[in-house]
Amino acid sequence: MNSQLSRRSLLKALGLGLAATTLPGLVRAADTIPNIVVVGGGFAGATVAKYLKMWGGLSVQVTIIEPNSTYVSPILSNLVLNGQKTTDDLSFNYLNHSQKYAINMIHNTVDTVDNVAKSVTLGSGQVISYSKLILAPGIDFDSVPGHDFDKVPHAWKAGVQTNLLKDQIDSMQDGDSFVMTVPKAPYRCPPGPYERACVVADYLKNNKGYTGCTVTVLDANPAITVEAETFAAAFATYGIDYVHSADVISVDSDTKTVTYSVSGAASASMTAETLNVIPNQKAGSIVFAAGLTEGNWAPINPLTYESTKLNSSDVALGLDIHIIGDSQGTGLPKAGHIANSEAKICADAILRALKGLEPDPAPKTNSACYSPISSTTASWLTAVYEYNSTTKLMQPIDVIPNNDVVDKYAAGGPSTENYRAMFNWSGNLFSDTFS
């Protein structure tokens, strides 16, 4: 299993067009079926693997390498905090991938990528060769000094962290304070932190009946990053204290104290009964280990999601390595819905490449996100993205053309109808990814 075995006498079935025994329609140098290795089984990785098999069938073998046999969706995970969902409700496994789509599942970590030998080495030491490698590891954290996740949860990867934060919120008494921080953009799920502040404030006030609790949001950004009107109005309603341009400097995890500086001023500190620090974010560590980052993210070609990182002699480092989901740096947001969207463009481009075809020159991706604002209402945000051949990035299309103010993003304010729609949206997104 650890090397390309060329002992089998396979004729290059190129162009012979014999349906039964040729390896269908693929241009290959190797004498085995291309092995596409996907690192990470979140919304990006799980989708790309499924669609590679749906569209590529027997002409490709697909392997997902993912440490966990259960994936807990961060989407809807703020509803765990108010008790409307459990992490079990948001848990998915890979049985469909294994048994419905015949994808090889390996539950392990990936330590290194060898882009010359075209192989990855697992935490176990096993080496797996790839024809095409797709890195979809999600985010990693840039945490500040003193931040112990086990005491001060970020709950920005769902599962144990989500339940830890929920327990801390549930142990609050009337009059206690909840303080959370918003990381510097770009970060995973743009509306997520503001959504969380609203859900927690609503829960303390309207479910627990606490009138004396305070909720404070320390935002590293100069303003609310998305759906500013919706969230500003909700913050006002809930009495949430919002501080912009607040950079977190350090955390004392034992006393639950966060030290921060607003717009470069002298540092201030805040202590809370429940402290939720969401650290600044960067590409998953394997992308750094592979040398494929510029700054915190991975530069890629949005037509294929192939790495465009060059080494010093202008030789591509990431040839046959594709990066999708939160780790990519294309101007696309970082969230589950658009990770699924990118995955399909990537799958199509890889299958075309294996056949010797150029990628679609004008792909479209889209994002949509429903955000709970209370236990009964939700808002939404959506955009469609197109390829800009000059910048070689994806950019949002003006979606409200008949407006005086051209807005590239459409938003819908909180309503009960949107709250119900949120579960239809997430339900189909979950099934498109995991079923």
Binding site: R7, A13, M54, S98, A102, Q126, E386, V399, N428
Partner: protein
């Protein structure tokens, strides 16, 4: 070390009548059809000199059948295997005689490809397989009765039967076309599995791996953890440890049987811009436009209907702000392309 349990059929519970010259062969019954993982199966047939035929499939399912003694020297057999699931064949002569049984893995040489990994969506006939009846006639370094190399069968395959050559096959870790189940050196590291603490060379000590039946498929993804021919969905003792599942917390199969697990293999990658564009609707409307909930399915509507709806969203005539925003993101030509593709898809119950 994998604890390789003998398959149910070899466990002595069912002793077939011994037939001198043919080394056995009971009634030709296919005992495992209940295990099919797809809505349809295909039949592999052929003749053999009195043999147990086994199939190990990549979803962990296990099938076996004995050839039928029809009084000739070439006993017919047929075995139904699930469509579109990769499977490997093994044939055993003298199967009821532990001292003399001969186990042979089957490899097919189509003239273009030689492989033991088979994927079917059509019946085919292997013809007569001239299996060894005597251990003296096989390459068998350690004398365990298992032929060290596969038997190659030259064969022209019909449409719908494909040989596959994988660089990493969980049923055959070392790629020698002798299944891990019978390969006493799964990873070809020169260490017999009996003394190799990491049979498949994946760096994970075997004691940490849960593959009860040693077929190379971890129990989590194995639809028949103990290779007794009963899918775990109907097997009350998934891992064959004698502890009923009700009292056993180490079986981990919650696979829902009865799910249609057919995917369509493509013989050629057809580029259709409409499909790629339409796939971008699936995040909200379900894979291939079939919604799983009360949101509209968009599969199976006529292209003109879909185009009309999208234009109504675009103009604001239909008051759906999120769809209005989405519709503005696509050109008329793109809407035409995705609608044409969606119209080819079968609909589910949520059309609107």
């Amino acid at each position: 070390m994998n604890l390789k349990r003998a398959p149910f059929v070899l466990s002595g519970i069912t002793m077939a009548v011994l037939l001198a010259s043919c080394g056995g062969g009971g009634e030709g019954s296919d005992t495992a059809t209940s295990l099919t993982t797809s809505s349809t199966t295909s039949v592999v047939s052929g003749t053999v000199p009195g043999t147990l035929i086994e199939a190990f499939c990549a979803d962990g399912t296990y099938y076996h059948v004995n050839s039928t003694n029809d009084g000739t020297s070439e006993h017919p057999f047929s075995i139904s295997l699930p469509n579109n699931v990769n499977c490997r064949l093994v044939m055993t002569t003298n199967e009821n005689d532990p001292i003399n049984k001969v186990v042979t893995a089957i490899q097919i040489d189509s003239g273009l490809v030689s492989s033991g990994l088979l994927n079917m969506s059509a019946d085919f006939d292997l013809g007569y397989i001239d299996l060894a009846m005597d251990r003296a006639d096989i390459d068998d370094v350690n004398g365990d009765g298992i032929k060290d190399t596969p038997l190659t069968v030259p064969l022209s395959l019909p449409d719908g039967v494909v040989l596959l050559s994988y660089s990493s096959d969980s049923l055959d870790s070392d790629g020698d076309d002798v299944l891990d189940y019978y390969d006493h050196d799964d990873d070809n590291d020169g260490l017999s599995d009996d003394v190799d603490s990491d049979d498949d060379g994946d760096g994970i000590d075997d004691v940490d791996e849960v593959d009860s039946d040693g077929d190379g498929i971890d129990d989590m993804y194995d639809r028949d953890d103990d290779n007794d021919g009963l899918s775990d969905d109907v097997d009350s003792d998934d891992d064959g440890d004698g502890i009923s599942d009700d009292d056993d917390d180490d079986h981990n199969d919650d696979y829902d049987s009865g799910v249609d697990t057919v995917y369509t293999p493509v013989s050629e990658y057809n580029v259709t811009s409409g499909r790629l564009l339409a796939s971008q609707c699936a995040q909200c409307h379900g894979t291939n436009g079939s919604s799983t909930n009360s949101w509209d399915s968009i599969a199976g509507e006529s292209a003109s209907e879909l185009i009309e709806e999208m234009q109504e969203f675009k103009s604001g005539e239909e008051d759906e702000p999120i769809m209005e925003a989405q519709a503005h993101g696509y050109t008329d030509a793109e809407i035409q392309a995705l609608a044409s593709w969606l119209a080819t898809q079968s609909s589910s119950d949520n059309d609107d």
